[in-house]
């Protein structure tokens, strides 16, 4: 009973704080996002009404397109941002460092979310974002669901075969997903073996691919280059992926701009790509 009372008081205090709005320590009410992933995360957390502006690249979910635009993810208009009087600016590692510094000098709270290196870091960042905007509970719920789903998918694929996989995220030069990039988690969680896992850099040689002989090749769309790349791989008839016709094209957006929720969705797709014959 006492615990219940305590909870009631806490809740009441919380309500008061929310009602007061701009009181000290209140969650930010005017947020500007400088990256598509941050925008998506804000929508997932249900903070879209507090998002006042974003970049021209922020096109999903559809509502994000209608928001005020402050430039691209890399080059933004400092003056416009300042004039919108935000109380929180969410930057990414793409943000122009000079502009970021300038905003800080102008007394604006700027928080940077660098590109995550793996799924667990991605979840941590999502939780941090939730905490920052006062949506901790929602963030925890979303992350827990995503983690559970990822774990269950992992368990599902445990008994299945472990195909060798190459995920190509860039052409000219050939650029692949290494261990340092969260795309590696897609492969491993889906029960595959990333042939480029140990590579130091993303730039990879075709010869190495021929030696490692991946059973599956996944290509990110990268505009129109993917079909071309697929044709190039087809020339190597000895590759297992070519023999068994297992070269797939996945949208770049799905692969490289993730929230925990979209990660799990793409992971599901990955599982079905890697184990298409086995999971019935």
């Amino acid at each position: 009973m006492r615990l219940f009372l305590k909870e009631c008081i806490v809740f009441f205090v919380f309500l008061c704080v929310v009602a007061q709005g701009h009181a000290a320590g209140a969650p930010p009410q005017r947020i500007i996002s400088l990256g598509p992933t941050v925008t998506k995360s804000l929508y997932l957390l249900g903070a879209e009404d507090r998002l006042i502006a974003n970049t021209v690249y922020c096109s999903s979910p559809p509502g994000a397109r209608e928001k005020e635009k402050i430039g691209t993810a890399t080059r933004m208009n400092v003056e416009k941002i300042f004039n919108l009087k935000p109380d929180l600016v969410l930057a990414t590692s793409l943000t122009n460092p000079g502009a970021k510094e300038k905003l800080k000098n102008l007394g604006i709270n700027v928080v940077t979310f660098p590109a995550p290196v793996d799924f667990s870091r991605m979840c941590e960042q999502f939780l941090e974002l939730g905490k920052l905007i006062g949506k901790e509970k929602e963030a925890e719920k979303i992350v827990k669901e995503a983690r559970d789903k990822a774990i269950s998918l992992r368990e599902k694929t445990e008994g299945l075969s472990k195909p060798k996989v190459l995920v190509q995220i860039g052409a000219h030069p050939l650029f692949v997903a290494t261990e340092r990039y969260f795309v590696n988690d897609y492969i491993e969680f889906a029960g595959g073996v990333n042939i480029a896992k140990g590579a130091k850099e993303g730039i990879y040689s075709r010869e190495q691919v021929l030696v490692a002989d991946p059973a599956v090749i996944i290509i990110a769309t990268m505009g129109i280059a993917a079909e071309e790349e697929k044709e190039i791989w087809r020339k190597y008839a000895k590759l297992s992926a070519v023999k068994n016709d297992r070269i797939y094209i996945v949208e770049t957006d799905k692969l490289t701009s993730p929230t925990p929720v979209s990660f799990v969705k793409t992971l599901e797709e990955m599982v079905s790509i890697l184990h298409s014959g086995e999971m019935r």
Binding site: V56, K69, I70, G71, T72, T74, R75, M76, N77, V78, E79, K80, F82, N83, K85, S93, L94, N96, P97, G98, A99, E101, K102, K104, N105, L106, P114, A115, P173, R180, E201, G202, I203
Partner: protein
């Protein structure tokens, strides 16, 4: 003589008023429109705090920096074209920008930024530029004389080497470092530190002042090195000092703003068309012209497809290049043509 002074006075007053006009235009334009009348009111303390901040914390620093960098690059261009007697030389030809870019790339990739914070990139940029200057200079010193043609070729080759090295670094660097490098190479006048802005102003005005001490020597140089020697110019010492001065001006500019092309090449030629070849007027008018040109280009870059911001080099290249070719075709004689015919 008096006729000449009147003509010079006329051009300088025209350029000064143009510069003032461009500055006012730059202060007015942006995503928030502030008319000229309003600027006066804000200056007198009547405007809102936001307007005040936009004018004096966001727009003015950029204008001042553009003024300094535009002026410095133009003066450096005038000096180098004068010393080399070659119309194609510009501040970046000698590998100085390449050296600065290499220094910055290494600083980004090796994470040297954490050592001295905000100033690290300009510092390493300047260090890179300085090392290249010393290298080019010492390679071109033969028997205590500075061979200008050798200097030019060495500079061009070194800039090829540095750009290849930069490509190498970019190829093996991590994605997040790559963005930093690309940002820097594209050049931007968005500089948060007032200290660096003031430094740029001091260096550019200092550069103009020192180079002005050599304006008569530069005039003698335009006749040829031997003729200059006969006219009583200490050719070797002047060449060296002017080369070092131009390098310092370029190195400082590149280190602070990144690579902003075309200003140092086009402005000296453009100024020669109306102000004449005499360095006594050419240096000052190039400084004013370059400053105004860069302020104007930067204003266009930040407003033309607002809210997006273009790299300022895009505008300087397109505007400077077309304007120059147009004016060149209108005139019968080629500026600096006497060098070409030699």
């Amino acid at each position: 003589m008096t006729n000449k002074i009147v003509r010079w006075g006329f051009w300088i007053s025209i350029l000064c008023s143009l510069l003032l006009g461009v500055i006012l235009f730059a202060l007015c334009s942006g995503s928030v429109r502030i008319p000229v009348k309003r600027i006066m009111e804000v200056m007198l303390g009547a405007g809102s705090a936001t307007e005040y901040s936009i004018l004096f914390d966001i727009r003015l620093p950029r204008i001042i920096l553009a003024f300094a960098i535009g002026g410095a690059l133009s003066v450096s261009g005038v000096i180098l074209q004068g010393v080399f007697r070659n119309p194609l030389v510009e501040p970046y030809t000698l590998g100085i920008s390449g050296g600065a870019a290499l220094g910055v790339c290494l600083a980004i990739v090796l994470r040297l930024g954490c050592i001295i914070g905000v100033f690290s990139l300009p510092f390493f940029g300047f260090l890179g530029a300085g090392l290249i200057i010393v290298l080019v200079y010492s390679l071109s010193m033969k028997k205590n004389t500075l061979k200008v043609q050798g200097l030019l070729l060495t500079g061009v080759m070194i800039s090829f080497v540095t750009s290849s090295l930069i490509m190498l670094i970019m190829a093996v660097s991590r994605a997040e470092d790559l963005h930093g490098i690309v940002f820097w190479i594209m050049g931007s006048l968005e500089e948060p530190s007032w200290f660096l802005i003031k430094l740029a102003v001091v260096v550019s005005i200092f550069g103009l002042f020192i180079s002005y001490l050599f304006c008569v020597s530069l005039n003698a140089f335009s006749l040829g090195e031997e003729e200059a020697l006969h006219l009583g110019v200490n050719v070797e010492r002047t060449k060296r000092l002017l080369f070092i001065l131009a390098s310092l001006l370029t190195g400082c500019s590149v280190a602070i703003t990144g690579i902003i092309g075309f200003v140092g090449l086009v402005i000296p030629h453009f100024t020669r068309m109306f102000a004449g070849e005499d360095h006594r007027i050419l240096l000052i008018s190039s400084f004013l012209c370059g400053a105004g040109f860069l302020i104007f280009c930067d204003t266009l870059a930040r407003t033309i497809i607002s809210p997006m911001e273009l790299p300022v080099g895009v505008i300087t290249g397109i505007l400077g290049g077309t304007l120059f070719v147009y004016t060149l075709n209108k005139r019968k004689s080629i500026p600096g043509g006497k060098w070409l015919s030699k």
